[in-house]
């Protein structure tokens, strides 16, 4: 397997089998082990933790507060068009 | 008035200023250095305008950028952007055909 990063997508290829961080639209972030990807960035991750950040307005103080909710999935297919960025392992 | 091709106009604008209206209430003005078939554009001496909901405008100056053509809504070649154009208040009640539309022409030195 050639270890060289010549194209951006090579960065994803080199992360196969590793734990990666994915930033998605809708303020979602995923962490999990990468098992598959294609040129559209469709992806399969295992042992996934999803963090969803929601901004809520506190009725009394009318302030914006950041609330995060977490979900876990054993094995997840992710459609590529929702992905903004991917960071390989040991780096986040 | 003869038939012109869109890309011919953009080609003629090489080296001149161009005003780009982009998605999400953004505008970009710069000197057109180059472009490709997807209208990705290289611009220099750039000003980026971000129009906000509260009516304020955020301006950013940049030396040179590669702009993603997918973000472009439309282009105004040879114009230097919102600061140059005097906001003309052209009153026009509605678009119905019997009301003849009075557009006050302002022949800017576009060439």
């Amino acid at each position: 397997m050639n270890l060289e990063v010549k194209e951006p997508i090579d960065l994803v290829r080199l992360s196969l089998g590793e734990k990666i961080y994915i930033k998605m639209r809708g303020d979602r972030e995923l962490r999990g082990t990468l098992h598959a990807f294609d040129q559209h960035l469709n992806i399969v991750l295992s042992n996934v933790e999803e963090v969803l950040t929601v901004i809520e307005i506190d009725e009394e103080t009318n302030e914006e507060i950041m609330k995060t909710t977490r979900r876990n999935f054993e094995m997840l297919y992710i459609r590529g068009d929702g992905i903004i960025a991917i960071a390989p392992p040991k780096r986040f | 008035m003869d038939f012109v091709l869109p890309f011919e106009i953009v080609d003629k604008c090489l080296g001149s200023r161009i005003w780009i209206k982009a998605q999400k209430q953004r505008e970009v003005v710069g000197t057109l250095c180059g472009f490709d078939a997807d209208l990705n554009m290289v611009l220099s001496d750039v000003i980026e305008y971000q129009y906000k909901i509260d009516g304020s405008i955020e301006k950013t100056h940049l030396d040179e950028i590669l702009l993603n053509g997918g973000q472009i809504t439309f282009l105004v070649p040879f114009k230097n952007g919102p600061d140059e154009v005097l906001n003309k208040q052209i009153n026009q009640s509605n678009i119905s055909n019997d009301v003849n539309l009075e557009i006050e022409k302002e022949k800017s030195n576009s060439d």
């Binding site: 194209e7 951006p8 090579d10 960065l11 960071a87 040991k90 | 490709d36 220099s44 993603n68």
Partner: protein, 82 residues
């Protein structure tokens, strides 16, 4: 020297510090490792800035092209890296 076509512009800034601004206004500042026809970008030592505030640091990051608004050379290396 103003580079001409998009590909010339890219050849000149590969390996240089750049700012990548996304359509959502998030900015990534880092060394441009490579870029492809879809404007997918990979950066090294990248910093993530949201609404002018530093958020995260990534040794490597892949950015999907359809989210990119523009790429621009960083004027001067930011102090954090020195």
């Amino acid at each position: 020297m103003t580079s001409k076509s998009p590909s010339d512009f890219l050849k000149n800034i590969i390996g240089k510090p750049v700012i990548v601004k996304l359509t959502s206004s998030i900015e990534y500042k880092g060394i441009l490792a490579c870029l492809d026809a879809y404007m997918n970008i990979s950066l090294e030592q990248a910093e993530e800035w949201i609404e002018g505030q530093f958020k995260n640091k990534y040794a490597d990051i892949f950015i999907r092209g359809n989210n990119v608004f523009y790429v621009t050379p960083q004027k001067k290396r930011n102090l954090q890296d020195l």
